[in-house]
């Protein structure tokens, strides 16, 4: 049991840096498109790891099912909205940043 518990803690602690890098990316990156990269990928992975950790700590099946459902919802919502924002940005003629 101690190993599972330790692994759960490790997963949660591993997830947090991804959220931090998502936020840093949102601030440092030069345009909408690159910021979308940081937001979609880093935050989803961070949430995935935290949810994995919490699943290992969960006491009943209902909690596990609910956590998995939340993960699934956020994953679909953020990848679909990533496409939607990039698509609308292109239609609004926002040109992607290029390294000069």
């Amino acid at each position: 049991m101690a190993i599972v518990h330790g692994f759960a803690l490790f997963m949660i602690l591993l997830g947090i840096p991804f959220f931090i890098s998502g936020t840093i990316g949102l601030l440092r990156l030069p345009d909408i498109y690159t910021r979308l990269h940081a937001l979609t990928k880093a935050d989803n992975l961070g949430l995935g790891l935290i949810i994995l950790g919490l699943i290992l700590e969960a006491k009943d099946l209902a909690t596990i099912a609910r956590l998995l459902f939340i993960w699934f919802l956020v994953l679909t919502a953020s990848s679909a909205s990533c496409h939607l924002i990039a698509n609308t940005a292109l239609k609004n003629k926002i040109t992607p940043w290029k390294r000069p």
Binding site: I12, I16, F19, L26, D43, G46, V74, A77, S81, K91
Partner: protein, 85 residues
Amino acid sequence: MTIVSLGGSFILLLTVIIGLIRIHRGPTPADRMMAAQLFGTCGVAILLLLAEGLAMPVLRDCALVFALLAAMTVVAFVKRAWRNK
């Protein structure tokens, strides 16, 4: 576990606050919307960690509502608020 959960949710709250800078800077409405999306994902993670750390399972339902609303907000924003200038 409690310390990690509560500490983790505190750190996530700090990153959300730092993310507010992007809302201030903009420049396009979409950049501001993305900061709001960050709050959505971070908010779900914070609520789930608090549900574990404070032993309040009810917060998991709040996280569920956050997750359900996350999709709606972006679609509504792109279709209604972010029109061609």
